[in-house]
């Protein structure tokens, strides 16, 4: 299937257009990496130790990001089908199948170009168990070394000293020696600290951007627009001056909208009236991204906060920001606080915070069929959120990129019913 040609610039603001430019610069770096003698690794968004990888001039590839791009270009089904024909069950993670499918299609990525094969795989499994399985599969697929950090699940609700020690030891004794050997570059702590200082600066701006969602009207859609904004910090540009500059721009754009009392730009134009303020947990479909966001737009429903935008870290807060004074410790802490590495209780608290402090009328929970890390336990969360906030939520199901599991009619009906319920409550009040 050929990706449909579309004008991707329609409905994008200055910051979103800047995001395209910065991400294009990453693709150029990737294209020239091997010619320049740099190592290419495959790694993850959650658990990204990008600042450390920069210290070794490593250029990473994020198969999840390639997967979502396949979805956005509506070609993910092709890749998934190829993987399923090779024996991968229709019940396992679509991201896994998209990357296996990509390999089986000659490692041709979503834009039709060949993605460099990895010199090594970098496994930091703090998001889910499936990450570990996925990298086991890719190791056999690409027959390359694998460098691993096993980060614990944040089951105490805090990151304990033992957990930090476990992570730091792996950085010091496993990762750095292996990266030095592979790249021939000696680890430079000063370089890392410089990067972490930039990360911290960036994280302050990102927190401000996310927290702008508390404003009425909300200046940034906390799901559909925010997913564009977090691309650079979740991938190559955390720890870089370009990343800092990008988020300064985004923050300026958002603050300008706050001052003008304006809402965000959407692919369908500016939302005239923000009738409903919602928090969304999970709930992402890349292959029907536009159709899904249109449902919200048509209803005048704005997402003021979401959890999927926190897959790389709880960036709505600076509590877990990187810290050059505690380089390894803060890297472990930050990487353990990606959203899916939180307990069910802590996820409930995060959603409660959004619902209460971002002045939500309601919340939606979109279960992702092939992602057990996000989805197992959602029904319990929903029951508990209702008890604690006094507000009922909407529940619907989809998959992040397998179109067989998205029914626009079904999702629209669910959202429509839910918002009518909010209308009825308002009238009753």
């Amino acid at each position: 299937m050929v990706a449909k040609e579309r004008n991707y610039d329609v409905g994008k603001d200055e910051a979103m257009l800047a995001e395209k430019v910065i991400m294009a610069s990453y693709l150029q770096k990737l294209e020239s990496a091997k010619k320049e003698g740099k190592k290419v690794c495959y790694t993850f968004v959650p658990g990204s130790l990008i600042e450390l990888l920069h210290c070794f001039d490593i250029v990473p590839v994020w198969p999840e990001v390639l997967g979502l791009q396949m979805g956005l270009r509506k070609i993910s089904d092709d890749y998934i089908e190829v993987a399923e024909n090779a024996g991968y069950s229709d019940d396992i993670c679509s991201y896994v199948k998209s990357s296996v499918g990509m390999f089986l299609k000659g490692n041709i990525g979503p834009y039709g170009n060949k993605i460099p094969e990895p010199d090594f795989l970098f496994l930091v499994n703090s998001q889910c168990f499936t990450f570990m399985k996925w990298w086991e599969i890719l190791r056999k697929t690409f027959n390359c070394p694998i460098v691993t950090i096993n980060l614990p699940y944040r089951h105490h609700g805090i990151t304990t000293k033992d957990e930090i020690k476990y992570g730091v030891k792996q950085i010091e004794k496993v990762v750095i020696p292996q990266l030095e050997e592979m790249t021939g570059i000696k680890f430079d702590m000063d370089r890392l600290k410089g990067e972490l200082a930039l990360s911290r600066e960036m994280e302050e701006d990102v927190a401000s951007i996310f927290q702008a969602g508390k404003n009425i009207p909300c200046p940034v859609d906390g799901l559909f627009q925010a997913l564009y904004y977090i691309g650079p910090i979740n991938t190559y540009f955390r720890g870089t001056q370009e990343g800092v500059d990008f988020y300064k721009l985004v923050r300026k754009v958002v603050e300008k909208r706050v001052a003008a009392g304006e809402g965000p730009m959407t692919p369908f134009g500016k939302m005239k009236e923000q009738k409903y303020r919602l928090a969304v947990d999970c709930g992402i479909t890349w292959d029907h991204f536009k159709e899904y966001s249109k449902i919200f737009y048509d209803e005048g429903a704005i997402t003021v906060a979401s959890t999927y935008t926190k897959v790389g870290g709880l960036y709505h807060s600076t509590e877990f920001s990187h810290d050059p004074d505690e380089p390894f410790e803060s890297m472990i802490r930050q990487n353990m606080t990606n959203y899916a590495n939180h307990t069910i209780e802590d996820r409930i608290k995060i959603m409660e915070h959004y619902i209460n402090d971002y002045h939500c009328d309601g919340y939606m929970i979109g279960s992702i069929k092939s992602c057990k890390s996000f989805s197992a336990g959602l029904l319990t969360m929903m029951n508990e959120l209702e008890k604690r906030t006094g507000i009922s939520g909407a529940f619907f199901e989809m998959d992040m990129m397998d179109s067989r599991y998205f029914s626009e009619a079904n999702v629209r009906t669910r959202i429509d019913s839910y918002l009518r319920m909010i209308d009825a409550k308002r009238k009753g009040a």
Binding site: T148, P152, Y153, K165, K173, T343
Partner: protein, 384 residues
Amino acid sequence: MKSQEIIERCSEIYTDMDFGYIKDWRARTGGGAIGILPIYFPKEVIHAAGVLPVEVYGGGDMVDIVKGDSYYQSYICHMPRSIIDLGLSGKLDVLDGLICPFTCDVVRNFSGVYKLLFPDKYSRFFDQPQNFDPDIGGEYMISQLKEVIAFLEEKGKKVTTERLNESIGLYNENRALIRKLYDMRSQKPWQVPSHEVYLLMRAGNIIEVSEHNNFLREYMVTVEELERKPLDNIRVLIIGAFCEQPPLNLVKVMELSGCYIVDDDFILGNRYLDQDVEIGENPLKALVDGYLKSNVPSSCRFEEYKAKEEKLIKLVKERNVEGVVFACASFCDPALQDIPNYQKKLDEKGVRYMSFQYSEDTSQFSLIREQIGTFTDSVKLWGA
């Protein structure tokens, strides 16, 4: 006891969803009981505190899931639903809590669901390390075990070096007896049928380890007294059934369909250590070292350099396996993700295989029986 009496007793224990054995044990000893989900948690630590370790596998086909379904979407496996049902119906009141090792993302999140639903019970997620360096992963595992021990000592007795060594001794013996049972079954699968082995193992999840050791010893002696004739079955290895267990009747169906199950990964929680744990001055470290060094292949353990597929082929050769059956629980991420590479390796080596999925309460067997029967016939007709 004779083998048939032992199997009947095991069957009673396996089917008793009121957990009468645990109630009796608690009344008899005054001790507590802690549930453990599969797979990786050293039961010795619980036993040494005078607490009964109970491996929890859900309600199987003995519990109608009524409430549990409202906690999970349709594409999540059955085990957490039936455990919730057992919990909400009060049947798990016999346990003081649950320990949930990191078997998969469903079990990981389940630990949080359980905690919310049963706030008065101990709920502990156990993050067994996937770094196998004793100074790194080993140190972290010890720190976690010490946290669990602190709770156990409140419930039971002090986990002294002596007590822990004694428990290790008993579980070493248990593992050795299980290895012997599995060897015996492999050598004479008609004499030691798999549905009996399964019942012995399932009972072993619940009863105190020294009682289980007695059962195993007596069974292996007395089962030889029975006159059981060999059948024209093929030798198969079952793989993928390490967490949510198949119902007993499914094991019987496999045997009736022409399979001698000569090895399997059922109930791996009893069998994930392939060597004795050292008894000595530092038994906690020895338990951890045992986990770190274990060579037992599993979908829930990160493989470093020795591929699981090679271990599978080794097992196929050792047990003289004629066919491999991938039998995994529906929606089981770890198992389903391993299958393609396992199958690729088996193709390379010319070993026949088939696969199907089940749930713990599967009750319609005709389709599975057809599939397995066709598979066994094909192996018999066209060779392994």
